[in-house]
Amino acid sequence: MNDTVVKLDGLIKKYDNRPVVDGLSLEIKEGEIFGLLGPNGAGKSTTMNMICSLLKPTAGNIEVYGMDIKKDINKIKPLIGYIPQELAIYGNLKAWENVELFTSLYDIKGKELKGAIDEALDFVGLSEKRSSFAKTFSGGMKRRLNIACALGHKPKLLIFDEPTVGIDPQSRNFILEKIKAINKMGTTVIYTSHYMEEVEAICSKVAIMDNGKIVACGTKDELKNMVRKNPDEEVSLEQVFLTLTGKKLRDYVEG
């Protein structure tokens, strides 16, 4: 049985001859919460966009569930749920209308569609606000709706691109808990972030990315072991990052 969900092989994306993603190779297995960690501009979103066919790679291969993205894109699309980094919802549509519209893009109709809308809104805790216009929502609620819009078609692979940017700790925890819950139900998750704590809290496997390249990849412990000088030393992912890249992540994030 092949349990590889995503396989990237020598993936390259160039803008004006400047490589933004530079020879990336990775494997993501079924059932993982895979964290892609990296500073601003590392190329995380670019990589995610290529996996869900928003961008064409300059070179390299992408396989999703063993299918080549160039050939089988139409079979791959329904398997993926993509939550864009920046909100992609209509302010002038109600919460349920947003979910309806974006779920219908996957040929789901009638009763199944109604059920999917209810489930998705319930999952992100917006059932009570289903008939409110999205423009009246707070930042955190918009983020949650943004997620709900990608859940309706019940994808097997969910790609979260920094879903917690700009929201308060409660909303953030809510979202993180939900991601864990959905993973328990069998969904593979790719989670990109530049917040160490988030990745540390939920991810089973982590890749650290910088300047379009993978600097290190493995389970949290494997990564920590790479920099541990003795077995009892307490290290954080932040320290791992610092040691491996020679740079502080915070410098990027704030700078």
């Binding site: 869900c52 066919s53 928003l54 139409n74 699309k77 329904p78 993926i80 993509y82 864009p84 920046e86 909100l87 992609a88 919802i89 209509y90 302010g91 002038n92 549509l93 209308e97 309806e100 519209l101 974006f102 219908s104 893009l105 996957y106 040929d107 109709k109 009638g110 819009c149």
Partner: protein, 358 residues
């Protein structure tokens, strides 16, 4: 099908939740029509029939027409034409100064007619009357005599619409052609909120995305202008549309054609302002040739150039159908609108597929 319907439905919600935009468009159309129709009232009303104009004439001594001239003038006076005899006069000057609308000089065996540029219909009335006189006189010479008759119904003129009826038709066509600008709201939101990412990652193809917008725009257009617009015009200005089935059918075809044309601007240009600007420029020209600002009936633009405008065919068919019950322009109009729909929507679908942002 299901996807297209849900997309159309939600696009319609997005459009109709901006009620202000739709109300402004409708009120704008009515106000413009009222203003323009009023301004051109005199022009069109005078053309309504060729009554009540001024005719001057001279007769040289010994003209063969001397025999009949008094009878002829009496007949013309009965038709509300004011005639005036000059012993000698400069026809061109009289016409130019506006003292007379038409002037006839009767020579020994022939006559000449001078008419002012604006009185072409009236000039034709006189020409036709004199032609009849000539014919009757020839008959008299050869033995059979008939009295001179001037019958307006025989005149080779077609009826012309009154100003209100004309401009009601013209402006419904004009506003229908620019109504895809409603879509700017949706394209603007799609880009601002990067909604296109969802469409591109979704399974529904670009054709569905295109059709979702297309149908929403088309339905909105049809409801606002042909339906509400016509209703308002009939109540306010006594507009007289032709057979409603034909009227609706032609406007629906035009709606399909102009919607597929208008959407192109939003697909091709990223900035809504650029889309609207370029679309307005082209459609202004199309409307101008199509007789929206200046009635096609009195427009001095050559027929061949007017025929470049699809609105010309639409306008002309609808107006002629309304007034005369038939029009030679209806069939070409149908063909042109279908051609526009096919060509422009094909381009639109391909462009939607190729462009990064839907």
């Amino acid at each position: 099908m299901n996807t297209i319907w849900i997309m159309t439905k939600n696009n319609l919600k997005l459009l109709w939740r901006r009620k202000v935009m739709i109300i402004i468009a409708l009120v704008g159309m009515i106000a413009t029509t009222a203003a323009v129709a009023n301004a051109f009232h005199t022009l069109l009303d005078k053309a309504d029939d060729a009554q009540g104009f001024k005719l001057g004439y001279t007769v040289v001594q010994g003209s063969k027409y001397e025999l009949v001239i008094d009878t002829l003038m009496d007949e013309l006076e009965k038709e509300d034409i004011v005639t005036q005899k000059y012993s000698s006069a400069d026809a061109d000057k009289l016409i130019e100064s506006g003292e007379q609308d038409v002037f006839v000089t009767f020579d020994k065996d022939s006559y000449s007619i001078v008419g002012s540029e604006k009185k072409s219909v009236e000039t034709r009335v006189i020409q036709y009357s004199l032609f009849n006189v000539e014919r009757n006189m020839n008959a008299f010479m050869s033995g059979g005599l008939k009295s001179v008759e001037v019958k307006e119904s025989e005149l080779p003129t077609t009826k012309t619409p009154d100003a209100e009826n004309y401009y009601c038709h013209a402006f419904i066509c004009c506003f229908l052609s620019i109504s895809p600008i409603f879509l700017s709201v949706i394209y603007y939101e799609d880009r601002k909120n990067r909604i296109w990412q969802r469409y591109k990652t979704g399974k529904a193809g670009s054709v569905s995305v295109y059709l979702g917008k297309y149908l929403a725009s088309f339905i909105t257009t049809m409801v606002v202008f042909p339906l509400l617009g016509t209703l308002a015009f009939c109540l306010l200005f006594d507009m007289k549309p032709c057979n409603l089935l034909i009227y609706g059918g032609l406007l629906a075809l035009a709606g399909l054609g102009f919607t597929s044309f208008g959407i192109l601007f939003f697909i091709l240009f990223k900035q809504p302002a650029v889309s609207i600007g370029s679309m307005f420029m082209i459609l202004w020209f199309v409307s101008y040739l199509g007789g929206v600002y200046e009635t096609y009936i009195y427009c001095s633009i050559p027929e061949t150039i007017k025929r470049l405008s699809p609105l010309y065919y639409l306008n002309r068919s609808l107006i002629e159908l309304s007034v005369n019950g038939k029009s030679d322009y209806a069939i070409p109009c149908v063909i042109i609108m279908i051609a526009m729909t096919v060509v422009f929507s094909a381009v639109g679908m391909i462009a939607t597929k190729v462009k990064k942002e839907v």
